[in-house]
Amino acid sequence: MVQPQSKTENSHYVLEAKNLEIYYGSFKAVTDVHMNVERNKITAIIGPSGCGKSTLLRAFNRMNELVSDSSIRGEILFQGQDLYASNVDPVVVRHRIGMVFQKPNPFPKSIYENIAWGARIHGYKGKMDELVEYSLRQAALWDEVKDKLNQSGLALSGGQQQRLCIARALAVQPEVILMDEPASALDPIATLKIEELMQELKKNYTIVIVTHNMQQAARASDYTAMMMLSKDGERSGTVIEFDETKHIFTNPKDKRTEDYVTGRFG
């Protein structure tokens, strides 16, 4: 297990997973994960499909527990606080740690209402029009939709829908944004747009992104967690290597990482 170099003191990690195991019923989907997420950086999670990337990501905002019998062991700290402590409200967790999903999932409402939804439920008091514009600008979507805010969000192209979902997530002012393969349903140009957007967003937010696209991880992220099934014949995934992205891609310590990032996997 290699920790990132900049291991000075705990407080500047936004998220820390320690000894983390995640279960669906009695099935242990993820085991023995240690990783830290730094503020204002992009952390990528890569690995073959089925190794538990989404499961790990969804543990970071307690999304997993919407699946009835899932549970975790070990610890996840969010700014030093135990995310799964009994006095922590998962609703508040998901407010502060937002999520963008693999398939764009705008609400079947207007573009405007998509953005306003989260603000309304959290009792936003300011001018809604301003917030809508601000969020859409942050998501680099404003110019494309400013004349059709009352149209359905579903009438947009896939790439625009995904940016709408990002804008919607930004509108509730989260500190962290989790993205689960946000570009996998998009064409290369829309993908590039999302990546550029991430570079903008990391100035203000911390981003954790799952991707199966090696180039994307190499291009866009600062840190990379390499996941794989822990042993041959075992069904639990784990993080086999976690380091700065440039090390993972140029000088990996683990042979399996090297095989995977160079495309010699499987």
């Binding site: 999932n105 439920i121 579903l154």
Partner: protein, 311 residues
């Protein structure tokens, strides 16, 4: 690996169109069933209209008096539909004011809150409830609900036969229907929408009421309309419990015969074919038909305005 030879002889020969008898037969059957249902509907409306026309041709009847008259007394040739109409509307309104809120509540509970185990237990029970013969509900109204109302509100206030009792029990009858159809509509809303809402920090209630319900609104309106049509057309409960005689009143504790209740009662006796009473049944039937038609049209407009289309 062993090579196998894929032999599709038909495709090899030519590109010519080939007959597909199976497809044609099935297609024919489907078209036939489509038209069959349309023609039966047309037939029913035609028959209804024809007989109703005979009624309106009677010298004793005039359309204006029919629509605005407050007395329905065939033996003195008074044919004002209002007493029957108000009774139908009052019983149905009472029924819907029970069935809509409770039905939606049950549906939201089942689809958003209940564990799969609870849901799988409760849903079949609901569907069984919806299948109990309505005559049973009728006597339930008469022997349970009416005495209950009379104890609560007093013997003098509440008649033995009254619209409130029939309406309340009708609400209980319709509740599972609305709940079950609404639950189907809510469950059909994609999981991804719920996840989006939870991901923004929505509570269960916010997700249910502000994302799932609006997304299912057209299915929910359909459930409500089916429920209303059922209430308006419901016969046995009102025939047994609401009262046996037209009575123009807005007091739900009084007995008053509904459109359907009246049809049942007078067709129970020996009505002679082509008598004015006999023909009046069809005029009442036509009235019922127009009410449900209007409801359907209104609801379609509402749904068109508020529908949220999801993929």
């Amino acid at each position: 690996m062993k090579q196998i030879i894929l032999n599709y002889p038909e495709a090899r020969k030519s590109l010519k169109r080939r007959p597909r008898w199976g497809e044609s037969i099935i297609q024919g059957l489907l078209i036939f069933s489509g038209f069959f249902s349309i023609f039966t509907t047309i037939g029913i409306v035609y028959e209804l209209g024809k007989e109703a026309l005979l009624f309106f041709r009677e010298p004793a009847v005039n359309l204006w008096a029919f629509l605005t008259g407050t007395q329905w007394q065939p033996h003195i040739e008074k044919f004002g539909i209002l007493p029957l109409l108000t009774s139908t509307l009052i019983t149905s309104t009472i029924a819907m004011s029970i069935a809509i809120p409770l039905g939606l509540g049950v549906a939201i509970y089942l689809s958003e809150y209940a564990t799969p185990k609870t849901r799988n237990l409760l849903k079949p029970i609901l569907e069984v409830l919806a299948g109990i013969p309505t005559i049973v509900y009728g006597y339930f109204a008469l022997t349970f609900m009416t005495p209950l109302l009379r104890t609560i509100f007093g013997q003098d206030t509440v008649d033995i036969y009254n619209m409130a009792s029939a309406g309340l029990v009708m609400g209980i009858l319709i509740l599972p229907l609305i709940a079950s159809m609404t639950e189907d509509a809510l469950s059909a809303v994609p999981r991804s929408l719920r996840e989006a809402a939870y991901g923004l920090g929505g509570t269960k209630l916010e997700v249910a009421l502000k994302v799932v319900v609006p997304a299912a609104i057209s299915g929910i309106s359909a459930a409500i309309i089916v429920g209303m049509s059922r209430a308006i057309g419901e016969t046995m409960i009102v025939a047994v419990a609401a009262g046996a005689g037209p009575n123009f009143t807005f007091n739900p504790f009084k007995g008053a015969e509904t459109l359907t209740g009246h049809i049942v009662r007078i067709s129970g006796g020996d009505l002679s074919y082509d008598s004015i009473d006999y023909n009046s049944i069809f005029a009442i039937g036509l009235m019922l038909f127009f009410i449900t038609l209007t409801l359907n049209i209104i609801s379609q407009q509402i749904v068109r305005r508020f529908r949220e289309v999801y993929e």
